[in-house]
């Protein structure tokens, strides 16, 4: 099987997603213990689960410095796709590749340790991204001032409100100089003032030619940021290409549903 012509990898390519399919397993009976598992084997029903095809043969590429949108209804597989690009999930078929340091901001989080303080988490995150300690130290103040959480630097993350956690997470992701930024629903919990800062920051990153993959239900923002967009529905690509056309298609299939 060969993909569409824009699937060819070039030196400009930042992200490749090639014929990717992802299935989730939904257990029929909840077998979460050794005891139940052994009991299940005993009854002859060895490992029974339904498979749910969350992504079906997805292929596309994103170039360096491009802002790429992903839209689609709830449960269409957008977050799953970002997790595959970030290497958090493994595909069942196909492969994904990303060139450069990826900072994922997925479902309002970036990977924090609840028992550690904001300060310790910033260092933890930086070291996951492969930054050296002095590099993190340089970014440290920017992160806290951007998120406006300086007062709370020694509080444990588990005591943060969800909005505060998301703020800190977002600030950490963007201030660590990633080459590729994966953003999923970033404006869902921030207050107006913070959202305004985020929008400004994204513009700044676009100018710096950071590659951005942008998942959002805020179509106005997708329109504003992304030159190309992918429309997913039920795990399949419905359309990929010019953002205005893809959004139009999305609105059209939404209307047809009603």
């Amino acid at each position: 099987m060969t993909g569409p012509s824009d699937d060819k990898e070039t030196p400009q390519t930042a992200i490749v997603v090639d014929h990717v399919s992802k299935k989730f397993r939904i257990p029929l009976e909840k077998k979460y213990t050794v005891y139940q598992h052994l009991f299940g084997i005993f009854k002859g029903g060895y490992y029974s689960y339904n498979e749910f095809l969350a992504l079906d043969d997805i292929s596309f590429t994103v170039n360096h410095g491009e802002s790429f949108g992903i839209i689609g209804p709830n449960g269409s597989g957008k977050s799953t796709l970002l997790k595959l690009i970030a290497g958090i999930l493994y595909p069942d078929k196909g492969y994904t590749r990303a060139y450069g340091r990826i900072a994922p901001f997925i479902e309002l989080g970036v990977g924090f340790h609840p028992e550690l303080t904001a300060r310790e988490n910033i260092f933890l995150y930086g070291s996951i991204l492969g930054l050296k300690k002095n590099q993190i130290r340089e970014k440290y103040d920017e992160i806290l001032s951007f998120s406006e959480l300086k007062k709370f630097e020694n509080m444990k993350i588990k005591n943060f409100s969800s909005g505060m956690t998301a703020r800190l997470a977002f600030a950490t992701a963007i201030q660590t100089d990633p080459d590729i930024l994966l953003i999923d629903e970033m404006l869902a919990v921030g207050d107006e003032e913070f959202n305004y800062k985020v929008v400004e920051k994204i513009n700044e990153m676009k100018e710096r030619e950071v590659t951005i993959v942008f998942v959002s239900h805020a179509l106005r923002l997708v329109q504003q940021y992304c030159s190309r967009t992918l429309l997913l529905s039920k795990g399949k690509i419905i359309q990929i290409g010019d953002t205005s056309q893809v959004i139009e298609k999305y609105l059209q299939i939404t209307r047809e549903h009603q």
């Binding site: 989730f24 397993r25 979460y32 213990t33 050794v34 005891y35 598992h37 997790k83 970030a86 290497g87 958090i88 999930l89 493994y90 990826i102 994922p104 997925i106 479902e107 989080g109 970036v110 990977g111 924090f112 340790h113 609840p114 028992e115 550690l116 310790e120 260092f123 933890l124 995150y125 070291s127 996951i128 492969g130 050296k132 300690k133």
Partner: protein, 253 residues
């Protein structure tokens, strides 16, 4: 190799494990060092009566057994939950998942080395003759670390799928406590079972530690080779299991 590439991350996680561990108890750090001594005293009182041995050597014999055993239990217990206890990390960002297990076991090793340091002080105070065989200590502890890490790799990956594994492991550890020569001298094992008894690599490790710390002699070379082979085998097996099962960690935690 990820150990070098992610050494900063390993350091951050190991230190945070230690912080969490010592924060949660009131006397924290000091208590964790006194704890094995209390255990030694109680077990010595009970078991020296049973086996009618009342020399100080036996108290030290028990203490070495306890410190060794405590590393194995704490490392495997913490290692086992290291994936499941970090859903926030596992579901949101990529890094080699082995690092969570490795840094848990490493933090237990550091605690254990402090216990060994206390043990060492006691040996000096009691004027046990220390010989040059003590130089083997780092090698043996490294092998022991490998074994505990290998067990933790297997346990942590299985625990993601089977959430009662910790209870099963608890029972196995309780049995293990009596299957290893911790509170009794090996001489109580009947001759005909001795060969089988000595197959247990943890038993051999305890005997090696006693040789180099308490008896001041070099352990039989074969014993060291034997536990190294176990370590190698377990590491290969644990790593294989972990790599098979890690594929779905982010979906299951």
């Amino acid at each position: 190799m990820w150990i070098f590439e992610y050494r900063d991350l390993i350091q951050v996680l190991t230190i945070s494990n230690l912080k969490i561990k010592y924060q949660s108890s009131v006397l924290g750090f000091a208590w964790s060092l006194i704890n094995p001594l209390f255990m030694m005293i109680i077990l010595y009182i009970v078991f020296s009566g049973i086996f009618k041995i009342s020399e100080k050597q036996f108290a030290l014999y028990i203490l070495i057994g306890i410190v060794t055993w405590r590393f194995f239990t704490s490392a495997t217990n913490l290692g086992m939950i290291s994936i499941v206890s970090q859903p926030g990390l596992v579901k949101k960002i990529f890094f080699p998942r082995e690092i969570l297990v490795f840094s848990s076991v490493l933090s237990c090793l550091i605690s254990s080395l402090l216990e060994f340091a206390v043990l060492f002080c006691i040996l000096i105070i009691l004027q046990v003759s220390i010989s040059s065989s003590i130089l083997l200590f780092p090698i043996i502890i490294l092998i022991f670390f490998g074994i505990a890490y290998a067990f933790s790799l297997g346990l942590s990956s299985l625990f993601v799928y089977y959430r009662d594994l910790n209870q099963i492991w608890d029972v196995l550890l309780q049995a293990g406590f009596f299957l290893c020569p911790i509170v009794y001298p090996i001489t109580v094992i009947p001759e005909k079972y001795l060969d089988i008894y000595m197959l247990n690599p943890l038993t051999v490790i305890m005997e090696i530690f006693r040789d180099i710390l308490l008896n001041g002699i070099f352990p039989p070379l074969w014993d060291v080779v034997y536990v190294s082979l176990w370590g190698l085998f377990l590491l290969i097996f644990g790593h294989y299991l972990f790599s098979r099962l890690k594929i779905r960690f982010a979906e299951e935690v």
